[in-house]
């Protein structure tokens, strides 16, 4: 903390800090007041309208439940709507979301003074893709002339023996090809406790103190040199900044599913980023990658606690990024989201199934945050970020409950006969009140809140100078199709997320698997198997709706269509062929696809070059290739096995010599690779280890 105040005292000294990149802006309180005030007002209006519609003929208990769920869901939508509207205004007026001044590119005054490191934590990822991303970023950085201010560090937590060896070889090749010995480092953690956050913690406790800032990459991240240097420059000139997050653009996938998501993220993502940055200011969130972190601050205040109780709600914190940002804020450091930082990319899961698998993991992590929301000491906005993380999954079961309670309420209403003389004695009947106009208003109001910012973002792109990069006039068709697709996908995600939330709350945990990073399709049978429960629910629900009221069935039909069509939607959207055909038709086109930046072209080129890199038979490679063997030995930590391990290793070596590599299990391979008592290739020289 003292360091923050020291820096803040010197902050006005223009000889030390460049005032043109100062992260400060007017009216932080007013911004939040406006956003939350408008959201609350809109929610209150919608809740009143809903009560008016349902309560025209007296509100039943079930209708009260409907109003309650509707209000919670609407508040969520409303916050997102006003964030989007603010983002649209900022984009339209070309204003900086933080300073509210005219947007200007960052002009650096002089070379970087800091020492930075790009860290890439990996776990069983494709080494060719990881190092292709690293090399593309490295080459781009070299062109800025600021290479001396950066090192790269691959932090491996890999547990697959073949990938482990391939990572080592890819590292050596990158060092040799780029002449980057002493610039690109590699270390593998013998024990992968606490997953990714533990991986980073171990780095922080060993090598991170050599650096002022670290840029955290994901396994599929790529950043332009200019973006990395600008982030480091911003850090140097904003000494109270703990984290600066760039908005990563999803790119690189070719399946229809991924291309639709890439398109809408590219069109609408900047709107939401600008809106978020506007009201979050120095209390923004950290998304876990493509961000720069002040190393000292991170080491001092981001060692994660272990939550009491058992997983999934207790134990080690899974979704570490939000929590790290909250601890940074708690210690007084600022966290910024800079929407205009371009040249930051990531990749998406290629299909809905893999997307859902990733969401299942995130769901467990975010649900843990429910406990942190009420923990003492965190800033209010950090609590809000936790709440938003929880709501990103809990909103699905809430929506489901809203729909279910609506169904029950409708069913109840059809069972009731209307009473013209309710309660007390009167000469005048109480006529039924027609609320169809109010219902229409409410429907338009809700749908408008949901899709209006997105539609305006699409129109802005269509009317903007860059529309050619989005497929010209085809951007409108792309937007229309995306809206249709997302409407059909929403009920599927609602069911899946509801299932995930239920699964977490009932104590089920997820494992730790690498994300699918190829353009993998989903066979129809697999999609059908995955979605069979959803289809059955959709059909039963539809039948009940028809039985209750035909009009209600048509009201529910968009939801039911999504559920019943889910296997077709998943199967066809995972298609690479349709994705490529859509691209040829300029559908869902993004600027990265229209005119690929140099870094992404380099990524494609290097990926193709490294495609021959073998990720199989790592142990055999060590036996056959003396260089691979020497490299592996050199990279192992210096330690001696205990007596028991020595005996185990001896038995595995004997098994290897007598029965061949095929006889070894993955764990056995990992064990002898972790403790080579002497160079494997010597031990095996002259022996046939390819199998009996």
């Amino acid at each position: 903390m003292s360091q923050i105040s020291d820096h803040t005292n010197q902050y006005n000294d223009e000889t030390l800090y460049d005032p043109t990149v100062r992260l400060r802006g007017p009216g932080v309180g007013q911004r939040r007041l406006f956003l939350f005030g408008a959201s609350i007002a809109a929610t209150a209006y919608a809740a009143w309208l809903m009560t008016d519609v349902l309560g025209a003929d007296q509100l039943t208990i079930m209708e009260m439940v409907v109003v309650a769920f509707f209000t919670i869901n609407f508040a969520w939508i409303s916050l997102s709507f006003f964030t989007g509207i603010v983002g649209l205004i900022l984009r339209g007026l070309k204003l900086d979301a933080i300073t509210l001044k005219r947007l200007k590119p960052i002009v650096r005054k002089g070379a970087l003074r800091s020492k930075n490191v790009v860290v890439i934590p990996v776990y069983n990822e494709d080494p060719n893709r990881v190092f292709a991303g690293l090399r593309a970023s490295y080459e781009s950085l070299a062109q800025t002339g600021e290479l001396d201010a950066f090192d790269f560090f691959v932090l491996s937590d890999t547990r697959d023996p073949d990938i482990w060896i391939a990572e080592e070889m890819a590292w050596a090749k990158a060092c040799t090809d780029l002449n980057a010995r002493g610039k690109i480092f590699f270390r593998r953690r013998p024990e992968n406790t606490e997953r990714k956050s533990g991986n980073l913690k171990e780095f922080c406790e060993t090598y991170a103190a050599n650096y002022d800032h670290m840029i955290v990459f994901d396994a599929d991240s790529v950043m332009s040199g200019e973006a990395m240097v600008n982030m480091a420059y911003l850090m140097e000139n904003n000494p109270d900044a703990g984290i600066i997050q760039s908005p990563p653009q999803p790119t690189g996938r070719q399946t229809l599913f991924a291309r639709i998501l890439q398109f809408i993220s590219r069109v609408h993502g900047p709107t939401m980023s600008a809106g978020l940055s506007f009201w979050c200011m120095g209390s923004s969130n950290y998304w876990g990658h493509n961000a720069i972190i002040r190393t000292k601050a991170f080491i001092e205040c981001c060692g994660l606690p272990v939550l009491s109780g058992k997983p999934p709600m207790g134990g080690h914190i899974l979704s570490h990024d939000f929590v790290e940002a909250a601890f940074m804020r708690k210690a007084g450091w600022r966290c910024w989201l800079i929407p205009q930082l371009e040249g930051s990319w990531e990749e998406l899961p290629p299909n809905l199934i893999d997307f859902a698998i990733r969401d299942r993991r995130w769901c467990q992590g975010n649900m843990q945050h429910a406990r942190l929301m009420v923990a003492p000491g965190f800033k209010p906005l950090s609590r809000l970020h936790f709440f938003m993380g929880v709501m990103s999954f809990v909103s699905s079961p809430l929506w489901l409950l809203l729909l279910l309670s609506s169904t029950i309420a409708t069913l109840q209403n059809t069972q009731l006969t209307y009473s013209f003389f309710p309660g007390h004695f009167t000469m005048f009947p109480q006529w039924p009140v027609d609320r169809s106009f109010e219902m229409l208003v409410l429907l338009i109001f809700t749908i408008g809140m949901l899709v209006l910012p997105k539609i305006i973002s699409i129109l802005m792109v269509c009317l903007g100078r860059d529309r050619k990069k989005y497929g010209g006039v085809m951007v409108l068709f792309s937007g229309l199709l995306e809206t249709l697709y997302s409407a059909l996908q929403a009920p599927i995600m609602m069911m899946l997320h509801s299932q995930f939330v239920f699964s977490v709350l009932t104590g089920n945990q997820v494992g730790w698997d690498a994300q699918e990073r190829d353009d993998a399709g989903v066979p129809f049978k697999a999609a059908l198997k995955t979605h069979r429960t959803i289809i059955v629910i959709g059909l039963i629900w539809g039948a009940i709706a028809v039985f209750v009221d035909t009009a209600f069935f048509w009201w529910l039909s968009p939801i039911l269509a999504g559920l019943v069509l889910s296997p077709w939607l998943t199967h066809y959207s995972s298609s690479l062929t349709i994705g490529k055909a859509a691209r040829r038709m300029k559908l869902f086109l993004t600027p990265e696809e229209y005119d690929s930046p140099e870094e992404l072209r380099a990524l494609t080129r290097i990926n193709a070059e490294l495609a021959d890199g073998d990720v199989k038979d790592g142990l055999m490679r060590l036996i056959e290739d003396p260089f691979a063997n020497a490299l592996h030995s050199a990279l192992l930590p210096v330690r001696k096995p205990d007596a028991r391990t020595t005996i185990e290793i001896g038995i595995i070596y004997e098994k290897l010599a007598r029965l061949g590599i095929e006889s070894l299990t993955k764990d056995e391979k990992i064990l002898i690779l972790s403790w080579p008592v002497k160079p494997l290739d010597q031990i095996m020289a002259g022996r046939d280890v390819s199998g009996p």
Binding site: M1, F185, T206, Y207, P626, F627, A630, A634, L635
Partner: protein, 159 residues
């Protein structure tokens, strides 16, 4: 006697060497040379000589093959490490990590076989090889700068 062409200082030992032992020495030398990516005859002979020297200086019974293999491996390792120390001028060539790193560097530098004839040559001037090795040295990590990352608590104050 199995090999009358051995260096003169090994003659007295070699005169009493069994065929099995000769094969063991040959195999060990070949395996170690292979791990340095070489099949050079001159280097092979130097390695065999080094192993015989080591055995001549050792008094352990030769019938214990497993034990003997360990002794030969250690002898080969020490001979190479000693030569690498002489070439590079470094003293820490015996540790497993530095030895492996130098093995890597030698394998990279000697990809086209230009340094094979220097291998285990104690007499020559190897300054060029030392430069080649330094150029090819891999550096997996920078200097260790250990520090503690304290676990935060969910208490009111930041720690």
């Amino acid at each position: 006697m199995t090999d009358m062409t051995v260096a003169s200082q090994g003659f007295s030992y070699a005169a009493f060497e069994s065929a099995a032992m000769t094969r063991l020495i040959e195999d060990t030398a070949r395996a170690w040379l292979r791990s340095f990516g070489m099949s050079d005859a001159q280097a092979h002979q130097r390695m065999v000589n080094a192993l015989r020297d080591a055995l001549a200086a050792d008094s352990i019974a030769t019938h214990d093959r497993a034990n003997m293999q360990d002794i030969l491996d250690q002898a080969a390792h020490d001979a190479i490490a000693s030569w690498l120390a002489q070439v590079t001028g470094q003293h820490d060539c015996y540790g497993s990590a530095s030895f492996s790193m130098l093995r890597c560097a030698f394998l990279s530098a000697n990809r086209d076989g230009i340094w094979s004839n220097c291998f285990l040559d104690q007499a020559g001037d190897h300054r060029d090889l030392a430069i080649a090795l330094s150029v090819q040295m891999m550096l997996p990590t920078p200097g260790l700068k250990a520090c503690e990352m304290p676990r935060q608590t969910l208490e009111r104050r930041a720690s």
